[in-house]
Symmetry: C2
Subunit: 188 residues, 2 copies
DNA sequence: AACACCATGTAAGCTGTTACATGATTAA
DNA sequence: TTAATCATGTAACAGCTTACATGGTGTT
């Protein structure tokens, strides 16, 4: 049983929303789904090539005004079928690899001041993401028309990101007080 | 700037807790830190070899009674130094890749009954992990003596796992009611 | 006898990132 | 004219999983 690249499916997912160029897909991952997904150019362009060979997508070269030419890809009916099948398969368990947790598993080996820095940095990062997600939800609620069938899913999807980041922020607070407690003890 | 294998560091982390064989490390990841980390035999044994070449760990062959011989590895002082430096580096942002979120980003393409199955399965899985984590905390609180400097960090570390899983469970509930709402609507 | 567990390791091959290379257009 | 953005692509290689291979021990 060979592992299957998830990039294949992420591309099919994006193309099921609308036709895009490879560059667009990279932008899409960075701007729209960065909350839960990412892709590199290397993966996108090479995978696109194999998807064409398999007949799951087609590409059309397009010129818009004076902009550089680009190839816009579309999902084929075969592609939709393959995507549909994958969507129905059980979600495969992802291997956990949380560097933050790994480091704090040996927390006593980290100087207290550095530990505090780690936590504060993580907090900052989570807050930024939380803020971005909340804004995204507001924008969606206002701008996406009710008829768009994806709307409810997009909003609920963002909710997952929000809940998880709130959980991590709460943990940061606990961790922060643990560390501050140790710091003040060490000064006695 | 070359990406650095995190396996290197996870091994150093484990050996900083206590000397272990490669097999022990695999068990350790499966039983103790599966909450936030995983390693395969392939990675462990090959990385162990390079760690020895670099002088970060040493290996001793050991025989216990009639058991098959095994090599128990220890972290060297150089290894501890390298680990210490890594622990002080900022936590590198991990690329998000959440298959569940990706699938539900195109939720309308999934039959409602299948969506429900996905959510119920995820719920079940999170509940199991939550249960395991809570038991682990209880065990630690009872069995790990207060003097062990890691104790507070281990407990707080498990708390992160708990908070995140509770968040995901809460989200599952929201998602479940969204889907059930759509199912009952579709039956009118 | 069979199965589970202890114990180690290698080879193949997929997945993915990074760095590089190219070149056009547009805004400051 | 310089920088940013649009746009595509490749090559090298790091990282990791999977499957395979081997063989001992202990239990049912």
């Amino acid at each position: 049983m060979s592992r299957k690249s998830k990039t294949r499916y992420s591309i099919l997912v994006m193309l099921s929303i609308e036709p895009m160029s490879g560059y667009d897909m990279k932008q899409f991952t960075k701007e729209v789904i960065s909350n839960f997904w990412s892709e590199s150019y290397g993966q996108i362009y090479t995978t696109l090539k194999t998807l064409i060979e398999e007949g799951l997508v087609t590409g059309k070269e397009i010129e818009e005004g004076k902009k550089p030419y680009k190839t816009v890809y579309e999902i084929t009916s075969k592609g939709s079928r393959v995507l549909g099948e994958w969507l129905c398969e059980p979600i495969s368990r992802q291997v956990p690899r949380d560097e933050l947790s790994l480091k704090f598993f040996v927390g006593p080996l980290i100087p207290l001041e550095v530990s505090l820095q780690h936590i504060l940095a993580h907090k900052e990062q989570q807050k930024k993401q939380l803020d971005k997600l909340k804004k995204a939800i507001n924008r969606m609620e206002e701008e996406v028309p009710e008829e768009v069938p994806h709307k409810a899913y997009w909003i609920t999807g963002s909710r997952l990101g929000i809940l998880v980041r709130e959980a991590r922020l709460k943990w940061c607070d606990e961790m922060e007080s643990l560390i501050r407690g140790k710091i003040s003890k060490s000064k006695n």
